[in-house]
Amino acid sequence: MGRYAFPAPALIYLLVFMVYPILYTFYLSFRGANAVNFLSGTAPFVGLDNYRAVLSSPTFVRTLVITLTFTICSLAFQHVIGFALALFFNREFPFVRLFRALLLLGWMLPAVVNASLWRWMFSGSFGVVNSLLETVGLGGLQHDWLTDPNTALGAVIVADVWVGIPFHMLLLHAGLQSLPGSVYEAARIDGASAWRQFTSITVPLMRPIMFTALLLGFVQTFKSFDIIYVMTGGGPAGATTVLPVSVYNLSFDYFQFGQGAAAANILLVIPLLLSIVYLWNRRREDAA
């Protein structure tokens, strides 16, 4: 029995500080909790009212569309660029290790620092993105990127792509390293072009690790809060209000704790379902 003393403290820790809060949020989502009755614990039971209020609010659909746009665009660019870089830096040449390490920096820096520097990059007056556009003759596109509701989401996506590229590059590079070199040699002898080798050997063999990177990337990106909150606060005019920002607003700006909890549960359940489907498929593939 003494053996169970090893994992016990960590398990109890997570039960108290993670599992209990999740269950409490579930409980709270059925209560009419607000600033008045929250701390006293006398919030009345309201059934599904909070979910109804959140789901039927006109902003919810918009929030969900913005969240998915942000997640899918950001993830797609991160993955494709990360894959391209992983392929390029998988070759052997002088200083390649140094470059690979330097390319991880954006991912390691604090999100608030990244948000702060991208605010400056995208600034309307004297921001360097505008200067670069001018330099390459696209001065007509100059813009106050973060204060225009039409471009704010795109600008935030660019910043998040920059942050997320290294994660995909790292994972996919580790995958590339584990591919058997002999298969490529055989393909070369058979006269397969580089593109043919990529589509017929690399992609099929890399599929499991690509799925892993995409799933983990989706989960991470879907719950992104820091970079958006600091860059735009969800604005202008709600143009970048993703689900996590709206959960924050409901609970910490409007003190609608019940509705905040309902929104939080919606935020949790989408990646959870996706992960279950993924694991289910993988188990079936492994069994086959």
């Binding site: 053996r3 809060p21 701390l39 390649v96 954006g106 608030v112």
Partner: protein, 273 residues
């Protein structure tokens, strides 16, 4: 093999392009107002001016205290994470416990949980125990994020420890705890160091917990103060970039100093997925 310097040149251009935003942050922090608002932009901040570092950081007690707070919170979180994760990782890797799969579940599920979902219930727990607006509350909160990551990262390190070593220790009368402490932990030291570095990096950059669980400037971490700074300073880009550079600095130092270890540890973890 023939050296392929052509590829090196392309690699250098790609790397430089990727790191340009970081360069621009540092360059801006070393300029004065007229150079920042010049068109076309001044690409090299020469001669460098350090005024912004004085006004934003060195002569700013709020920022200095916040840096101290973040250091305390990050070091505290590293210690707490190691104390909890090392025995847990060992137990679930080596002790042939029943229900190991079930016990791993909370650690895996935690990756899905948005920080913001935990904020309200944690605030309630901390306010009932008198921990709101303490650094301890943020150490506890950050460990929720680092602990699962640490256990998952450490497990493969423990799995690789040769069983004969443990058996030898056990027959020498070390006992299980003695074997763990004196034989196993020294072997997995690289894993512990990787976990420590990552727990530090994650906690130093953590924002949502700090934002929601502390309201008192005297205990707030530097990320929250930097965000507040952004609101206050608006378009005073030199002090803003100076403060951002200082907040980034510990991560860059760790990254440069421990680069091989961190990249190696991460790659090992990535392949294990």
């Amino acid at each position: 093999m023939r050296k392929r310097w052509g590829l090196t040149a392309v690699g250098a251009v790609i790397t430089a392009a990727y790191l340009f935003p970081v360069y621009w942050m540092v360059a801006t922090s070393l300029k004065d107002r007229t150079d920042i608002f010049s068109s076309p932009p001044k690409w090299v901040p020469w001669p460098p001016r350090f005024d912004a570092y004085h006004s934003a950081v060195l002569d700013n007690p709020v920022m200095l205290r916040a840096l101290g707070n973040s250091a305390i919170i990050a070091v505290g979180t590293v210690i707490m994470t190691l104390l909890l994760a090392a025995p847990a990782g060992y137990g679930m890797a080596r002790l042939k416990l029943r229900w190991t799969g079930l016990m791993m579940l909370p650690f895996l599920v935690s990756q899905l949980v948005p920080t913001i979902n935990l904020a309200v219930p944690l605030y309630l727990i901390f306010s009932r125990t008198g921990l709101v607006n303490t650094q301890l509350s943020l150490i506890i909160a950050n460990t929720i994020i680092t602990l699962p990551f640490a256990v998952i990262l450490l497990r493969p390190f423990f799995l690789r420890v040769p069983a004969e070593l443990e058996e030898a220790a056990a027959t020498d009368g070390c006992g299980r705890l003695g074997a763990f402490w004196r034989i196993v932990l020294p072997i997995v030291r690289p894993g512990l160091l990787t976990v420590a570095v990552f727990a530090f990096v994650m906690t130093w950059g953590e924002f949502a917990m700090g934002l929601t669980l502390t309201t008192d400037e005297r205990v707030q971490p530097v990320t929250v103060i930097l965000n507040q700074f952004i609101g206050q300073y608006g378009t005073e880009w030199a002090p803003l970039m100076a403060a951002s550079t200082i907040v980034a600095l510990p991560i860059v130092i760790l990254f440069v100093g421990l680069q091989r270890l961190v990249v190696g540890g991460l790659a090992a973890g990535a392949v294990k997925e």
